[in-house]
Symmetry: C2
Subunit: 239 residues, 2 copies
């Protein structure tokens, strides 16, 4: 990012002013120029389930400062990864939303996560944002097992709602404004935080135990919930 700062790459000769960029035709190197700065890819991750406001991003990315978030959003917009958009819906506000191409980054984000989760040093007990949880499901679902299974699952995690529509081995997930009782979901997982759902999906703790000890609530078809959980497996560690 920072594509149009003071001194852009002079006549395409491969490097910015201070050798700050890589000057490498390799797509990976270019990706790192676009999203390689601290926080950038996590911002993209948080936008993967739809546009978010500035303050939403600050909330789910604890530790990012307003200054850095501002800089990153500007850089990602200059890079064509996201666009700032005015909305008038609930109240006049602006949301940051991925461009079509920005959404294509999901595969790379997933594969980075799949790889890193296989490190023995990875600590899955840390906090997990609702969007992080949703993306982890899309990463870790077993596509073979999923083929034989259609379902509509609702999630309400830390106040954010999503609907996952399992079909043809695919698991598209969208944000849902209201996951009320007139929902089409056959089963709804409600949890105060991401790791609670993760404990059920990946930790393979019995649902009842996660309900009793971590505040999960599974509403609707509990047998379906069990089958759904059976679709996921953490990748094995490697050393």
């Amino acid at each position: 990012m920072k594509l149009q700062k003071e001194t852009e790459s002079p006549k395409g000769t491969a490097e910015g002013k201070h050798g700050r960029w890589y000057g490498d035709a390799c797509g990976t190197a270019f990706a790192l120029e676009l999203v390689g700065e601290r926080w950038s890819l996590l911002i993209v991750r948080e936008l993967m389930m739809g546009g978010r406001r500035f303050s939403d991003l600050r909330r789910v990315l604890p530790g990012i400062s307003a200054k850095v978030l501002t800089e990153r959003l500007a850089g990602l917009e200059a890079a064509g990864v996201l666009k700032k958009r005015q909305i008038a819906d609930p109240v006049p506000a602006q949301v940051y939303e991925l461009t079509e191409w920005g959404y294509y980054a999901e595969v790379a984000i997933r594969e980075l996560g799949r790889w890193a989760a296989r490190s023995p040093l990875h600590d899955p007990s840390l906090p997990l944002t609702p969007v992080g949880l949703m993306l982890s499901m899309r990463t870790l679902i077993d596509p073979e097992k999923a083929k034989a299974f259609d379902a509509v699952i609702g999630f309400e995690v830390a106040g954010e709602s999503f609907v996952a529509e399992l079909k043809d081995g695919q698991l598209p997930i969208r944000r849902s404004s209201s996951l009320g009782d007139p929902s089409s979901a056959q089963v709804i997982f409600r949890a105060p935080a991401g790791p609670v759902v993760a404990a059920a999906l990946y930790g393979k703790l019995p649902i009842a135990e996660v309900e009793a000890e971590m505040g999960l609530k599974v509403e609707g078809d509990r047998e379906l919930a069990e089958r759904y959980i059976g679709l996921f497996a953490l990748p094995e560690k490697i050393v």
Copy 2:
């Protein structure tokens, strides 16, 4: 990386001393802690075709300083991505080699590259290292077309030699110490630099033209070379 510096994550409470780490269970966030610093992932990329020495890395990563390379290698070793190994083969020396898990990062590296290459801002005319070229072939080959085609192709690019063994739609590539005439390759591409081969593979310029104007030499079965080139296509740009 920097996993065991002065103040490691205190009792696993999610953040390092200065909030430098993300404290996020999301595998992607952890990946960024491991390889998210400037240059790290490009070092991993350059090791993807086998171990390299310190000076090899400095040469193919123009712009990286000895200091930063030293720091990154130490960090990546602490993270379990690579290992320093003593060799005595040609001369006593030490090489940095990916661990088994380190090699698994290739998918993520490829997907980052595939994504970024679809940006209209990507400039494919920049320099391309031999390893970058080899990885780009593994990224951009059409697996469907490749299924019906077995071949052994040699490459000698900027003094580095590789053999690619196309079989069952897979394209494993290994470094080759000598790509002499007693080689098993059915066709050999020789070029002074990566972009020359890229011009033939992805630019779809006629072989004869790339030979005449860019210094490519195609030895052996030229018809096979044409068929091989036909397996590759740049992904379309999106906006």
